[in-house]
Symmetry: none
Subunit: 186 residues, 4 copies
Amino acid sequence: MARKSIGAQRNPESEKAILTAARELLAEEGLSGFSIEAVARRAHAGKPTIYRWWPDRTRLLLAVYSEFKEGMRSFDTGTLEGDVRAFLTNLFEFWRESPAGPVFKSILAESQSDPEASAAFAEYHHGRAARTAAAFARRGITDADAKLLTEMVVNYAWGQLLANRLDPGDAEIARVAGMLVRGVGR
Amino acid sequence: MARKSIGAQRNPESEKAILTAARELLAEEGLSGFSIEAVARRAHAGKPTIYRWWPDRTRLLLAVYSEFKEGMRSFDTGTLEGDVRAFLTNLFEFWRESPAGPVFKSILAESQSDPEASAAFAEYHHGRAARTAAAFARRGITDADAKLLTEMVVNYAWGQLLANRLDPGDAEIARVAGMLVRGVGR
Amino acid sequence: MARKSIGAQRNPESEKAILTAARELLAEEGLSGFSIEAVARRAHAGKPTIYRWWPDRTRLLLAVYSEFKEGMRSFDTGTLEGDVRAFLTNLFEFWRESPAGPVFKSILAESQSDPEASAAFAEYHHGRAARTAAAFARRGITDADAKLLTEMVVNYAWGQLLANRLDPGDAEIARVAGMLVRGVGR
Amino acid sequence: MARKSIGAQRNPESEKAILTAARELLAEEGLSGFSIEAVARRAHAGKPTIYRWWPDRTRLLLAVYSEFKEGMRSFDTGTLEGDVRAFLTNLFEFWRESPAGPVFKSILAESQSDPEASAAFAEYHHGRAARTAAAFARRGITDADAKLLTEMVVNYAWGQLLANRLDPGDAEIARVAGMLVRGVGR
DNA sequence: ATTTAAACGAGACGGTACGTCACGTCTTAGT
DNA sequence: ACTAAGACGTGACGTACCGTCTCGTTTAAAT
């Protein structure tokens, strides 16, 4: 039995079914199995319903990723170095143990051919980075230093993600955190 | 005028024309403008000629990518921080001013859906990183520090590439280099 | 300007444009100029639209052919010989002066490689022959004789079509009709 | 072991291998399985060897077809009706029990797109018809009647071939022969 | 006896068409 | 207004053959 309209308003069941189908497709078949047609088929949704809410394939990808947003634990270890370590540990664990890793990589790949995806991704990235930088700034470094530190930490994490090295070990993380925090001054 | 067969053997002119067309397309229009059809049109080649030698779009991409292997200048400024700055400056310039940047990004994107592309990319990346680390090690840091430094520098550069920020300015580069070198000790 | 979808239903304009383009191509360039690509180009239609409704080139050919089903005038001259003459005269004129001749020949050619085309053609042929036989039977011959007469008349006509002799002249037609009618008895 | 050149002259083994491969392909797979590539593969011949001796696919088809020229038995039953029956019986048997039927149909199909095939076919057809008419004329009918009779007989046979009804039965053949002979006078 | 000439197999070449897939847009019919 | 459904034009995918071309080999005929 098909889902029907519930009147002049967005049907949350449809949204949920679409996002679920999208997430499962990415997890099961990777980026190449992820197409609007396939999502529509699996979610028993009409293509226009998808396009109405997500302007293109990339935005749907971003939406799937955002669902994981809240999957990450926050951190407050008391020291800057501890925070950096916690951030990295959490992030790698998150990428390893949820479908978030593949999804994130897919977004990155998509961004290379789609300027809008690139912009959307940049915007999302910017927001997250700002929050991370704010967290680091609590430890008494300048905003500029916090931003730079964030950039280095995040770029390091991306590099590991893209190279499929999501389990660097605590020692490696500690070395990286130590190096960056030392570099940022004091 | 038209390229013809030179017998029962691969015609190097065709190969060259196809690789050139592929490289130019990537540089001019990015990954989304890169299709076998478009390459065939620009190279004045038949599609079967391309498929005869490169089994699919990804492999042609990898072939283009291999052509850039030795495109970067070396550096020797006398100090570690100077070397890091030179490395970054050279790399950003190389990415900005040759078709290498777009091609690299395309490979990276493609790697996310194609395991073979991923492996080829990882191998290439590993080799380049080793050479860079060796250059940094000349400045009197341990090999482990040189490797870590390289990783951070390279990941920073990749992050900028992926974010389309290939012209960070000397000041930014100096800040990054300073921070990383300070972090590495001394 | 361009034809668009009219919803989840077949667009009759597209169907018409495709059939028209197909018919014209056959008339202008013959069977060798008739390809799905060429039809799509001329009809300003997408290939998938054609394949959605006609599973292959042969079936599109058959569809064009069916359009001529009712193109022939009937006849009632009062005598059997007159009817045979009228049938042949009409048929040759129809084949000469409409695109039906080339289309019919194309179907026939296609039937030699495609069993489905062959079956469809046989069915069509059978129906037409039955109606022609019924017309002849009005002149007081047995049904068996009417069928045989029809078969001979039609095969003669096909032979002339295949041999590109569509204008045999009234005298030749009279000779053929006379011979066949005499043969059928009385 | 491959066939080699035997010097600056046509290698009859190659010619034979090519014609055999072509005939077998037509018999086994019909016109749609008949391609220069397939013939070359089966005959272990190079494509240029084929194109050297037969300018195109159609001419190779015609060459295969000519091989059957003399495959038919002659007839002399003593009566005109007997001769017509014998002609038809022989012809249907020939078409049924040799690869000639499929080959003839293929030629016919090809003739619809290739004017040269059409001309060659017409010429062959004309010659055979003349000989058949001469045989009929021995029974004391005028040349004009013999030609007309031949035309009707042959067109009937072609009709049966094209409709895949190559085994009409003796009774049907007798009816046809009787009708035509009666029509021709006497 | 050596050279020349042409046929041979092989297979690459630039093309055209095939039939399939997904894109993003559009309209319908129903809730 | 929003839904599922599905048609539309576009254009790339990877494959099959087309007819042409050149390669390197082989061998008979002409020197």
